[in-house]
């Protein structure tokens, strides 16, 4: 009974995965989503192999300070480096391309950690809150509503003031302020799942609450968790960049997209490339994540599904 109902749900409502072939077919019908997947894949590869880039992102060289982008090997720059500065150099003569690549890696590391923390905190709270209702529900929801009433950045800044900056701290702050959307969305899902007949059947056969929650309710929320994790990932990358831009994120000399742009603020009168390229990198990262997230949402949402 429980199994049959579960299978029926998979076909009809939001929740569990469908065959990967269906995903590929749906992707082919959305050219924009297809491009976004490709761009995102490329960006993830850049992030993974950033340290393999043959130019040192931290190597300062005042002789080659503020060099414009060029594809030709420069006699000054080229003597020390294997590649020309094809995105230019910053005011300290550091290669912008390798700095941006490493910064993307750091963005992904922070955002992944932050989303992980947000899922670990938000999903159980949403499950408990939706399943049991009552006091725990009203306490969690008051907290969620309160935290959602403030701008995310303001909240993150207030908490960073407490715990201090640094890679792990920033991830912690973003995770501990970003769990609210997970709790809210999972709770809303669980409120519906709780009433379904297969949950009732599981309860009638004597399953414990813990077993029902983990084996029968949680799998049905995977879709919404995955969609929100993707969309939150973009938000986290943007938030980390904002904090680093304000000097409250990951401290120097670690390159971050926000940090590079903050540096650029002082010197961009001398060269447009220091502002333009890191910004475009950040936009591409967040935009491709958002488009992929929107696609996933449509894919998992039965009302939009064709």
């Amino acid at each position: 009974m429980a199994v049959g109902e579960g299978a029926a749900r998979t076909g009809a409502a939001s929740g569990s995965f469908r065959a990967p072939r269906g995903y590929a077919r749906a992707l082919c019908r959305h050219p924009a989503a297809l491009v976004a997947h490709a761009v995102l894949l490329l960006i993830v590869l850049v992030a993974l192999f950033a340290s393999a880039y043959p130019v040192d992102p931290l190597q300062q060289d005042l002789m080659s300070s503020l060099m414009p982008p060029s594809l030709r090997a420069d006699p000054i720059f080229g003597s020390a480096n294997a590649l020309p500065p094809f995105l230019g150099t910053d005011s300290l003569g550091r290669d912008l391309a390798s700095r941006i690549a490493l910064a993307i890696q750091i963005s992904f590391a922070v955002a992944t950690l932050a989303v992980g923390i947000a899922v670990v905190v938000g999903v159980p709270l949403g499950l408990l809150s939706g399943y049991f209702g009552g006091t725990i529900d009203s306490v969690v929801m008051r907290l969620v509503d309160a935290l959602l009433s403030l701008p995310f950045v303001v909240l993150a800044i207030a908490v960073v003031a407490a715990v201090g900056s640094g890679l792990v701290n920033v991830a912690l702050v973003l995770g501990l302020t970003g769990w609210v959307t997970f709790a809210k969305l999972v709770r809303a899902e669980v409120l519906q799942i709780r009433e379904s007949t297969y949950v009732e059947a599981a309860r009638a056969t004597g399953c414990s609450h813990a077993r029902i929650l983990v084996l029968h309710v949680l799998p049905q929320t995977v879709g919404i968790i995955l969609v929100n994790a993707t969309l939150t990932m973009g938000q986290m990358i943007m938030a980390e960049a904002t904090l680093s831009f304000l000097g409250l994120g990951i401290p120097l000399p670690t390159p971050t997209l926000g940090g590079i742009l903050s540096d650029a603020q002082q010197t961009f009168f001398a060269g447009w490339w220091i502002v333009v390229f890191p910004g475009i990198a950040l936009i591409l990262v967040v935009l491709s994540i958002n488009v992929v997230g929107d696609f996933l949402r449509d894919y998992f949402d039965p009302r939009v599904r064709m």
């Binding site: 935290l147 009433s149 701008p151 800044i157 207030a158 407490a162 409250l248």
Partner: protein, 306 residues
């Protein structure tokens, strides 16, 4: 009607209390600002004396109780940096933030609402596709990058506007445009969706079949009905306005609460951080309650229900 507004005020007050308590506990559990104020050579006695002078030697529960009683008098304590009352510092910066927030919101609404309607009416056309694409990209664009580019274009390349500062109308232009551009994509998308929804309603078909001109249908009937979801969205946008203004104020040297918050967080000036957070939450609450009242003016149906 009065009861409805009353409920919203109580809900908002609870939200503010929860937020402020969260910030208070995070700040108090995470470290000791005293160490940062004294030279590293300070003796244990000096540290203890300093701690006592800020009341930090008492148990957490006592400090929380004192904090709550002080809150009722809007007393957030003295700034650790300047020794002035935190409330004073926040209040003198409030007008700058309010001016910036409202001018940005108005500009975004004046451009975004017509653009969204235009896009909805021309649904499927190249113009519509462009608007959708650009607003999608806009949502992935960091607000500080927009700010830097605008400074570069209008203060460096074509020096017609001051890059930073406060006082004259010219100083207001770049920060306002930056936040407005940041908001524009959201406003446009929402207006487009709301207008499309109304355009598909049967009453629009009836009006058109009666021979009423497209223009009259659009401006008299569609716009009025689309106004409600659009206004709802504008109220949600206030969070982004304030979130954006934290960054924008820092870039443009705009002496508002956002800049103060970023500076205070950097210096770990706890009383000022709490006071800023409180006023941001309060400002958003007041704005939202004002909008709830505005609804009853826009939509007579709400007046009838309550």
């Amino acid at each position: 009607m009065g009861r409805f507004i009353g409920q919203r005020v109580v809900q908002g007050a609870v939200a503010i209390l929860v937020v402020i308590s969260v910030v208070f506990f995070v700040l108090n559990l995470s470290g000791d600002p005293i160490r940062m104020l004294l030279p590293p050579t300070a003796s244990a006695d000096e540290v203890a004396a300093m701690r006592a002078s800020y009341g930090l030697d008492r148990p957490l529960a006592v400090r929380y109780a004192i904090f709550l009683t002080q809150m009722t008098r809007f007393d957030f304590g003295a700034s650790i940096q300047t020794r002035r009352p935190a409330i004073e510092m926040v209040l003198e910066r409030l007008p700058a933030t309010v001016v910036l927030a409202f001018s940005a919101l108005i500009v975004a609404a004046l451009v975004g609402v017509p653009l969204g309607m235009f896009s909805a009416v021309k649904r499927g056309s190249p113009a519509d596709a462009t608007v959708v694409l650009v607003s999608m990209a806009g949502q992935a664009t960091p607000v500080f990058w927009i700010g830097l580019l605008l400074i570069f274009l209008f203060a460096v390349v074509i020096p017609i506007l001051p890059p930073s500062g406060y006082g004259t109308a010219a100083h207001l232009v770049l920060p306002t445009v930056t936040i407005a551009l940041f908001l524009l994509s959201g406003v446009t998308r929402v207006t487009r969706t709301a207008t499309l929804d109304i355009l598909s309603r049967p009453f629009v078909t009836v009006l058109k079949s009666k021979g009423i001109s497209e223009r009259l249908v659009l401006f008299k009937h569609v716009l009025r009905n689309a106004a409600i979801p659009v206004v709802t969205q504008l109220s949600l946008q206030m969070r982004f306005v304030i979130g954006g203004s934290v960054v924008v104020e820092s870039i443009f040297g705009w002496p508002g609460i956002g800049q103060l918050l970023a500076q205070a967080a950097y210096a770990r000036d706890y009383p000022v951080v709490i006071a800023c957070t409180f006023f941001v939450a309060l400002f958003i609450l007041v704005f939202n309650v004002a909008l709830d009242i505005a609804y009853t003016i826009i939509d007579p149906r709400i007046r009838a229900w309550r």
